[in-house]
């Protein structure tokens, strides 16, 4: 199995590219926002810091994740270092999966670090108490990344242009969050064509809204555990499909 060495190589490559500087930026934004919001909204300080923190975690992870996933394979093709790898007894799908897992490990480390900083800040600056949904919301952020990284990587193999792949991934991210609204619109719209288009979008684009537990932190009943489990399974299945598609495209490339 060559997946693990490839993943390890990806992690080292990301560390060398100083991707962790984003964590420093996160710490600065969090400290700054906690100072500002403690004076602007004194009675909702913990809520505001939590929301900003989780939003920053998601956005920073999204940006670093898409950027890393899109450029990993494309840069290797451009620099022709991939030829060297392909001469080794390595299956192409193993290369794709190894690269993918490497990026995920880096993102997971980033999320955990940022989450620890956020929790520390909340503990120090407010009378915050840990809610299990808070941890689940961070876990579902990671599962959103599992999908979007697979999309970005597959898009880079299909489009072979990093800008197009990044724009495509970002578009899917936006539509995915609008998914529940798309369904409501599809139910109301009269035109059959529009209805068909909206339903197609709804069923093909991943529904990121169901992963959005950070927006459900204030809801008393939260989300049942069995539904969370199904959502996580949905994320994994979606990512696997995309990786299979990506591997098929990669297998057809000639080096």
């Amino acid at each position: 199995m060559n997946i693990l060495p490839i993943a390890e190589y990806t992690i080292m490559e990301n560390i060398r590219s100083k991707i962790f500087y984003i964590l420093l930026l996160f710490v600065l934004i969090m400290i700054g926002s906690s100072l500002v919001f403690s004076s602007l909204a004194p009675s909702t300080e913990a809520r505001v810091i939590t929301d900003i923190g989780l939003a920053c975690i998601e956005m920073f992870t999204l940006m670093t994740g898409i950027f890393a996933a899109v450029n990993l394979v494309l840069q290797e093709i451009e620099n022709r270092t991939i030829y060297l790898l392909m001469t080794r007894p390595l299956r192409r799908w193993e290369y794709i999966v190894g690269r993918y897992l490497g990026v995920l490990v880096i993102l997971c480390f980033n999320i955990v670090t940022m989450l620890c900083v956020l929790m520390l800040l909340l503990k120090v600056s407010t009378n915050w108490t840990l809610d299990p949904m808070f941890i689940w919301s961070a876990i579902t952020i990671f599962f959103k990344m599992i999908i979007i990284i697979a999309i970005a990587m597959t898009a880079s193999l299909v489009f072979t242009s990093s800008v197009t792949a990044m724009a495509f991934s970002f578009l899917v991210w936006v539509i995915g969050h609008f998914s529940s609204e798309l369904k409501l619109m599809a139910e109301k719209v009269q035109s059959l064509l529009a209805k068909g288009l909206l339903y197609t979008l709804y069923y093909t684009v991943p529904n990121f809204q169901i992963f959005n537990l950070k927006d459900k932190l204030g809801i008393p009943e939260g989300m049942p555990m069995d539904v969370i489990a199904l959502v996580l399974l949905y994320g994994i299945t979606y990512a696997v499909i995309l990786l299979v598609i990506g591997s098929l495209f990669f297998a057809r490339k000639e080096f």
Partner: protein, 252 residues
């Protein structure tokens, strides 16, 4: 290649099944786009909240904007005063009248700003409690305050949650206050307000209602508590306490 396509088809079927199961169990927890009523010229918060899955953060920003509006100068009343002033100068000559906190024209946008915040996040309890107190008890626009609270009651129905009951109490207190039944208003406010974790505005409402009910000693006690809990309010609390002391001595 063939194996890959077959596995994609099998996984797609599993995915579809999973999605249908989740769909039957998952309730979209927010008001849909079609119910959006109060949109500013630039609906960046609504769009950001919807397209990036950041509704809760967008609601926080909307709420901060509301607090800034309410904490700032009463532009609506000033504008109205200016128009009134200009008209009177034109027709009858110079005339002045004071602006009061509970002027019906004051902070006219307050309800729509609160409604915007709770459209983004209908589970944002602070907006209901602080917003309805400001609109209803301070500005005396009872119908708007009741509308905001009713929205909160519908979205946050949970008999086991103390916040749900507080919203219902607030609705009842507003009703009594509207007909100037201060005795019953106080009875309900006392049930509703927990001095330890209540926002300042509710404590002020309670202190002022004691005063309206001529229960000056309780009012002084509440202002003393306010000045202890919120040191920035000490100056205002001291003024109120000396005024209330005078009232007590007048009566004696």
């Amino acid at each position: 290649m063939r194996r890959g396509i077959i596995s994609i088809i099998i996984l797609a079927v599993i995915l579809f099944k999973l999605q249908s199961t989740i769909e039957s169990r998952y309730v979209y927890p927010f008001p849909p786009l079609t119910t959006m009523k109060y949109v500013e010229d630039n609906p960046y918060l609504e769009l950001g909240g919807l397209f990036f899955g950041l509704r809760s953060l967008a609601a926080d920003i909307a709420w901060i904007k509301t607090l800034q509006y309410y904490g700032g100068p009463n532009e609506d009343a000033i504008k109205e005063e200016h128009e009134h002033h200009t008209n009177e100068e034109e027709h009858e000559g110079h005339h002045h009248h004071d602006l009061h906190d509970n002027d019906m024209t004051a902070y006219r946008k307050l309800y729509s700003l609160c409604a915007r915040a709770v459209w983004l996040d209908p589970y944002f309890m602070h907006v209901y409690s602080i917003g309805s107190a400001a609109i209803g008890f301070v500005q005396e626009r009872y119908d708007e305050a009741a509308l905001l609270l009713k929205e909160g009651v519908v979205w946050n129905y949970d008999p086991n949650n103390v916040q749900y009951w507080r919203m219902n109490y607030a609705l009842a207190a507003l009703g009594y206050n509207k007909v100037k039944d201060y005795k019953n208003t106080i009875a309900i406010l006392e049930k509703m307000i927990d001095p330890v974790d209540s926002p300042l505005i509710l404590l002020r409402v309670l202190a002022n209602t004691y005063e309206k009910n001529e229960d000056y000693e309780k009012a002084i006690k509440m202002w003393r508590f306010i000045s202890y809990k919120f040191p920035e309010e000490t100056e205002h609390a001291n003024k109120k306490m000396s005024y209330l002391d005078k009232r007590i001595s007048e009566i004696k």
